[in-house]
Symmetry: C2
């Protein structure tokens, strides 16, 4: 060992001991004849002191620079000026011998919580970025979360079982990453988008309770919160109904929050997908704050305001105490909802004045009487601000109103990162109609079970069939989701039909699963959490990147490793593939 | 829940309770007017009883078959004829209601410990094979081992950190699996052969103690104990010397054996690579039994037996108490070592007779005097059998003798799967000379540190430089290995030179690591265990396949999923690659 203690370990009670520390130079400063060096490792920072009566040592430390790796031996002494902000702030080490373990050239950015390095630079030198407390703490948190997850699931009788990474390509869902097989020329493996079918096979195997913390892969165009490889907490259970799964995984979340944050989660509210869309315009509502949608078609239609009169949907939110919003602020809100990403045509607002009267931007169309009806519909009070959107497409307008609601939540400070509001969204539709492709798609995936009472509707009105599917939502983020699966091979076949698979293609792509179901499949269901998202929520991060040790950028590149790259021609030859030149 | 209890849970103390069980039909048999059904799940088997006064239920159960999925409700009753071999053997369930949850067609092989299914069939229907106790128990063991590993390492301050799966191709080592990048046409990711360089970067980051249970990938031609994807327990530590690592991971193995097998491992012996080769002809000696090599050049050369007189190496083993071997058995042993896989020219043997005389197959060349000298060299006694090989290449001959020793160990029952002999093999050579390529290769990998005292030899006699590298060997299987790494970018550069890299190629392939070392790399080292091998050892398996849920066959195929397969032309187009037709 190059040390007897870490840099975060020594206390006043250690005074007098001779110790050896190793770590990185955080900074060196001279004061009078003394030289002080803050030595850093993962566990903390300890102050080293070099006295002028040791000229050789002083010379050595004064030649060192930031991020050099040192090994120092000396005596622990009580500090005269203590630093209450540091856990080791009561002591310092009077150094008696010093070894330079490695030199360092000047890092391209400062290794501080508030670094001067930009995103690109920090990604390229990720190994230096990870030296910063702020980033490393996220990885420590991630480690702790996985320990907590495994602890809970193990105690509940789940077995962690590794499923293969080199699997078969399944055309449903996102694009697969593929891997050419040298031993089977012209053939390719795919990397799993999730172990969905494999975990279902494990249920057919009688494994009963399975989980895995597992890398998954999707070749999608990337956004801020997407990575081509991401990690799932993947779970499946047999002989269960939806209620059992919700309880089991509510327990998991309770265990995570208790262990990691010391928070006792209340019983999770459950909201139907229908209500989530109606009251929040989103299947992942942020319920840290209320501000539910109120529909205003009955109240505001038919008074000659053509925008509303022609609308398929009129709805609004009531921002408590926001009547003080200035004209300028309201104009900015209007601009906000008119941005192409949101796409509203305009914004109608109404203030509830001190005397209870309603003053709106469309006063010329509406009597105070009608406006008072509106006020009642919101339960609004003096000092509140009502914001209204309308449009020809109800769903689109609800989505716009959702964005407006979230923005108002931000502006009014209602989205505190240290407050957590979790819920289940349940009763998702089984199918989604695509106007473009003129076909149904599975909303969750093709293995999701319809609610038994809705099965007859599969033939008459597939779009109205509800699924035994559920999402766990925290602070407006979908952290997990799952469903009860189909365990009947005939029902599964019917689903493939509805999804437009020919029997041949269904057999080709999913034959292994449908055949397995013929040998005695138990009723089963499960759920998968997105670990990256879950951890970034717990860490209060805006992007999942900072809870991933070596993330990729928006072009799917690892700029530190410089991957991907071109291959040697010999490698391509062996794999029997060619690159197509443009 | 489709059950109140599992099929392994009910005891005599539950008698009188009304319970619901769900599971698979193990078998159904009629006796008199009664029908008995053994219902199976992961946790056990429980006997269901159907009385003839319930004709409807009897009819239902008698229509069911093997592997049907049933839900039965009934009363727990004490059995009249108890079955002491079953944990639930004291009770049975008098069924009052029965639901068929799923039917099953007849499985292609019996779901029994001793199945009638061949390997190929069991691989194709792996989900049925996994229903067998014998196979499922291996996965349960694997789960327990990973829990134990994480428990130990977490307590020792290791952080589990996920490293990326889509990385850069490194030409040193085995062949990489590669992944074409759609977003970066013409470029490819590689799947990691191990997270070696990434874990070293984590040490540069100051992570201090890292581990990961992680999938690794090697595109090699497969053998019985190799899979294209396999799992490592990958570990790395900073500010440590070899001694620290050996102690830390000896502790891990001790924890695993204690937790999993209830065995207190003794302190692991350490053997130099040189001694392992000299006394066992292998760098992974099986020391469950002694039978060390004895070199006989001094004793047996120069008596006119030309085979020995021309040999570069003469050595033998002494099989205690095996003098009773018949001529036929000795001929079979001779055939064994002459098989092309081993390649010896012949076998010389000598029995120690009751009177202490030595009777050998080469008596005409050697006097009893010389033979007695030989006997002394082995410390052989009456009743022992001495087996001798010789050859022109000392290393080759030692390997042949190693095979003979292991075979004798098998024949004499000295390789008990329930006995474990662990050791460290240390002081590996740094480099291996390849006659074929006329260059040195890194014996471990290019990042392994030479022993500091041997560094001067890098210039004068690279082949004799010893590395700070070590393997953990259990029962003749290398379960783990690692090394202290080079943390100095100049020494690393020198290593690449010795390995025949031009500075440009070293920079191209490993620049990210050598650059990182310039920013203050700590002394560090680590180790990786092969989880598949470790678990199969603990499970007493001959192949790693049976501790992997969904293994691939020798052609790298998953015959259950039918992967790999050809891609749709559209997929190839998107990836800008072509398949080269033969």
């Amino acid at each position: 060992m190059y040390r007897t203690h870490t840099c975060g370990e020594l206390r006043l009670s250690d005074a007098g001991k001779t110790v050896t520390l190793s770590g990185w130079v955080q900074r060196i400063r001279r004061m009078g004849g003394m030289t002080f060096c803050d030595l850093r490792d993962r566990y903390g920072i300890t102050q080293l002191v070099f006295d002028q009566d040791q000229p050789e040592l002083c010379d050595k430390i004064n030649h060192a620079g930031r991020e050099w790796v040192l090994q120092a031996t000396g005596r622990v002494a009580e500090r005269t000026s203590k630093n209450a902000n540091m856990s080791t702030g009561d002591i310092e080490i009077i150094v008696s011998s010093l070894v330079v373990l490695n030199e360092a050239i000047t890092p391209p950015f400062t290794i501080e919580d508030n670094t001067d390095g930009g995103d690109d630079l920090r990604m390229k030198y990720r190994y230096l970025d990870l030296r910063r407390d702020a980033v490393r703490k996220n990885l420590e948190l991630r480690h702790k979360v996985t320990i907590a997850v495994r602890d809970y699931l193990d105690k509940q009788g789940f077995l962690e079982i590794e499923t293969p990474v080199l699997v078969n390509s399944t055309p449903e869902g996102a694009r697969d990453f593929v891997v050419p097989s040298r031993m089977n020329p012209g053939q390719f493996y795919a990397l799993p988008q999730s172990p969905q079918t494999l975990k279902q096979l494990l249920m057919v195997s009688g494994i009963d309770r399975y989980f895995q913390i597992v890398k998954c892969f999707r070749d999608e165009d990337l956004r801020a919160d997407r990575q081509p490889e991401f990690t799932q907490i993947d779970c499946e259970m047999s002989f269960v109904e939806q209620e059992d799964i919700l309880n089991m995984f509510e327990g998991l979340s309770r265990h995570i929050f208790k262990t990691i944050k010391g928070i006792d989660l209340p019983t999770l509210p459950r909201m139907t997908w229908h209500d989530a869309m109606k009251y929040y315009g989103s299947d992942k509502p942020d319920i840290r704050f209320d501000m539910k949608f109120v529909e205003l078609m009955d109240i505001l239609k038919g008074y000659g305001f053509s925008v509303f009169d022609n609308a398929e949907y009129i709805g609004g939110i009531c921002a408590k105490g926001a009547a003080h919003y200035t004209r300028k602020q309201l104009d900015q809100l209007t601009e906000y909802v008119k941005r192409p990403q949101i796409g509203a045509k305009g914004l109608v607002y109404a203030r509830i004045e001190e005397d209870g009267n309603v003053k709106s931007s469309v006063d010329k169309f509406y009597s105070q009487d009608v406006l008072q009806q509106m006020k009642s519909a919101f339960g609004a009070e003096s000092g509140d601000l009502i914001l209204i959107l309308s449009g020809e497409n109800a769903n689109k307008t609800r989505k716009q109103l959702c964005e407006l609601r979230l923005e108002m939540g931000n502006q009014l400070g209602l989205r505190d990162k240290n407050k957590y509001a979790c819920l289940w969204v349940v009763d998702f539709p089984l199918l989604e109609w695509s106007e473009e492709d003129e076909r149904f798609y599975a909303m969750h995936h093709p293995f999701t079970s319809p609610k038994p009472e809705d099965i007859p509707l599969l033939d008459t009105d597939p779009g109205s069939v509800r699924a035994n599917a559920y999402d766990m939502v925290i602070n407006g983020v979908e952290v997990g989701g799952g469903s009860i699966r189909i365990h009947d091979s005939q029902l599964q076949q019917k689903m493939f039909e509805i999804l437009g698979f020919t029997p041949e293609r269904a057999q080709l792509n999913f034959g292994f699963l449908m055949n397995a179901f013929k040998y005695g499949a138990p009723p089963h269901g499960g759920l998968a959490y997105g670990l990256d998202r879950y951890v970034s929520l717990l860490a209060g991060l805006d992007s999942i990147r900072d809870c991933i040790a070596f993330p990729k950028n928006n072009q799917g590149r690892d700029v530190m490793l410089d991957a991907p790259t071109e291959l040697e021609p010999a490698q391509l030859d062996e794999l029997k593939i060619n690159v197509v030149k443009e």
